[in-house]
Symmetry: C2
Subunit: 280 residues, 2 copies
Amino acid sequence: MCQLLGMNCNTPTDIVFSFEGFRRRGGLTDHHADGFGIGFFEGRGVRLFHDDKPSANSPVADLVKAYQIKSENVIAHIRKATQGQTSLANTHPFMREMWGGYWLFAHNGHLKNFFPKEGGFYRAVGNTDSERAFCYILEQLRRRFSERPDEHALFDAVAELTAEIREYGLFNFMMSNGECLFAHASTLLHYIVRKAPFGEAHLIDDDVKVDFAAVTTPNDKVAVIATLPLTANETWLQLAVNELVMFREGDIVRRHAPEHPVYMSAEEGLAIARAAGVSV
Amino acid sequence: MCQLLGMNCNTPTDIVFSFEGFRRRGGLTDHHADGFGIGFFEGRGVRLFHDDKPSANSPVADLVKAYQIKSENVIAHIRKATQGQTSLANTHPFMREMWGGYWLFAHNGHLKNFFPKEGGFYRAVGNTDSERAFCYILEQLRRRFSERPDEHALFDAVAELTAEIREYGLFNFMMSNGECLFAHASTLLHYIVRKAPFGEAHLIDDDVKVDFAAVTTPNDKVAVIATLPLTANETWLQLAVNELVMFREGDIVRRHAPEHPVYMSAEEGLAIARAAGVSV
């Protein structure tokens, strides 16, 4: 199974601490060793780094660490190839322009026989189910809305499309337009909203800790979303199975959950991924 | 004036040598110090690096050097901001997907009052004349051809659109879909096709030389295209004013030049840029 990492904040924040733990899962503490990608929104622009080397020893990942890019919206992905060959064209996050803004998307899971009719606006370049799902979402949004709709209409449409696509299989994903960040869980997705009073956090995957109080202001609000919790001493919350949320400025502003939410254990989530032929 | 650098080859080639000279024009040997960008096609994928730091001392540019990415098609751009604020969203090369493949575009010049009707398929994210021109070209191509046409139909259409856009001002540009690379000169654009027997080359902007014979095979063919020649001891050819060429596998395979071609001196080219309000 691949792993996802996202960040949505109310002020440009550097993701180095979370990324350090996350990237070690790419080849060191875990087996997601088929490349990685990370996209940072900066204003209306996107800085996108892709690498087909394992993230744990990728010089691109070293740059990400050294550069300490500050962003309000980040999506990262460590890949264990299950669908499509390992190639740059198949490396998440994927990017497209819609309504005059960039969109990023990363997926963890497997959509069986998901081959929607080729889009008039958006087409996949590589050969992953993930990029096809992203293009399908954008294609349908673009057909419904010739201009960018308000946030709530957008959320409702994404929720509808997500429900349609997850019929094909495992569809944990994150998607952002640089303002809001959508996160959907088929199995495992955790999040934490850090805000004042800030404390200290310890990475699970590395002997590193950070005192957020020293690097933030009292108004900062930073949501970090990841497949599995990244820190040992904080309380991460979990998305329910089939729950879709929309973050803006570090808060969940919309959520769409099943009436009777089910929360999956990490063991269960990994077992399901295995059974679906998604390597873990 | 910004500077352009492109490469089109018949085998994946690393651009480090040319890029080393080129990047020094970003802040060291010249004044193109408002950021830079470089895009490498790798298979169907694109590795894109943008930075708003001057290329001469950018850690992203250091990575490009250290990484020695091999590519058959590269487009790079050093920016001296003249239109639109300096921001990541305004940093060339720009990228879009069309017909299921990525396209890169970089521009050097200034299009006066170029505000085409907003596209149904492609819209600018930043606020440069350059990105509007790129989106306009793609929009018109996409309207004419719902599927990717053959190379010659593509060239003819790009030639027609280029003639239309250059009425608005200076339009030196490069554009590539990872197979062919288009280059058009309004003022200055030079190129060299390196092939066997390979010799030694000396950078103009740095005390560096390379023996291409040691790093190539006899079948390699590498076209390098740049605003101004990058090496001192090789014969660079020049595009005529208003000439459009299409490179494939290191050769010019199509060209469209005025009946009576005019070749501009570097001094003339820089003076014209200055007069057009494009800083040099």
